[in-house]
Symmetry: C2
Subunit: 239 residues, 2 copies
Amino acid sequence: MSSSSQRVLAVVRRQILNGERMPGEKITEVGIAAEMDVSRTPTRTALATLAAEGLIEKRSGRGFTVRSISSADVEKSIAVRAALEALAARTMAENGMPKSAEDALLQSIAYTEKVLDADEPDPDYMDGYQEANILFHETIMYQCGNDLIAHAYERIAMLPLAALGSLAFDRTNPRRELQRLTVGHSQHIIIFDAIKKRDAARAEAMMREHSHATLNYADLFVKRIYETGGAAAETAALK
Amino acid sequence: MSSSSQRVLAVVRRQILNGERMPGEKITEVGIAAEMDVSRTPTRTALATLAAEGLIEKRSGRGFTVRSISSADVEKSIAVRAALEALAARTMAENGMPKSAEDALLQSIAYTEKVLDADEPDPDYMDGYQEANILFHETIMYQCGNDLIAHAYERIAMLPLAALGSLAFDRTNPRRELQRLTVGHSQHIIIFDAIKKRDAARAEAMMREHSHATLNYADLFVKRIYETGGAAAETAALK
DNA sequence: CAAACAGATTTTGTATCCAAAGTTAAGATC
DNA sequence: GATCTTAACTTTGGATACAAAATCTGTTTG
């Protein structure tokens, strides 16, 4: 794909994820094309991609609508991601850890360690922690030796909160967040160790546990967001 | 999508899976469009879908090429399918088995039982067994309560041998095949029982074991096909 | 003989036009 | 007043035209 269709895809996707386009909102080829000042052709390919990603739904003869995401949907997408990640961890343990993967994982671990060892929790580091977390998970996903895992993952990656690192840092409770990070970090180390020692069963089990913890946390977090989601979304739409 | 693009998609996909289009063979929008006597527009959407399915690869500026599938690729796709199916079995056990799913699963089990109880193995029944097998697996996949599992599955379903029921019946060794079917059938019954009793751990473990057995069998089977694949493919291309 | 340049060809991306399918709304009829 | 019918409109799918980008080829030059 090239510039026009890529631009439309990126812009509309961002608008949906940012809540600028409300769930249930109608989306048509002509509407988007006029709005973005391009023809229907690139708009078409962009909308097809968004539909494949699950962000919009096709209503035969009535255009597309922005898909409304329930907290149940979020749980579902995280469950699928967890299963794929567990498989990826097992696969990398079986195939052996490539040098490039080892470097990336160690880099992720080192960064997180630096954050946790700081004298007092610095909120600015937390963004970095997110990056380090994403690096850890994506490294295992993409370098495990089975590219189809990442391929399947990418199909659900755009759904809210299925994306790695989509969990925001809860600034109202920094101590609890730090505890969560500490536990997550220890799990990362165990997973790294298990893969390095080619203990496939342990790597898979630990990754499963790790994802499950994230899932439980996300569950609580999401319910808090989505219960007040109506107001927040309206605010976003009004500006 | 409508008739033209759907037709192009179905035809080209079948051609690739049948070996009528060789791995590495060049595919262009204009070429397919002329061959199928349609314009480039539906051809383009069809090729985009095939690329998403992983059957063809995009070579920027040089059209697409039919992806060559190694036996390693087959193993990979089956591993992903197995992980998704295990998750589906667990999920349905957790959520409870819908009535429609119970009917379908019992129908599948009953049909397979009839095949196995026949006085002598009738090869004609084997096609029916494949259908019953597909029914069993798809019912769990599509009615487990997490539609994203099926969504992810459909992204890899078209890769050779990842598709349910793509394993042909080995007619040269009917007794062994019957044994395999018998074991598989017993596993189906256990999986059904575990889901019905909402024993999620057992359902997941049993489905994992079941898929693993299929994987191991597929491995042997595939290597036999693909080792002689060059000759067979050439034959297909020459006629 | 190798490398580089230029022209030709292929391939793709975008715009626009046309037709078909389906949806909505208004009016007529019972 | 309710329902059926019809007509206008919306929306999408497909065809064609055009332009730009990339690749290939053939020739020329060092």
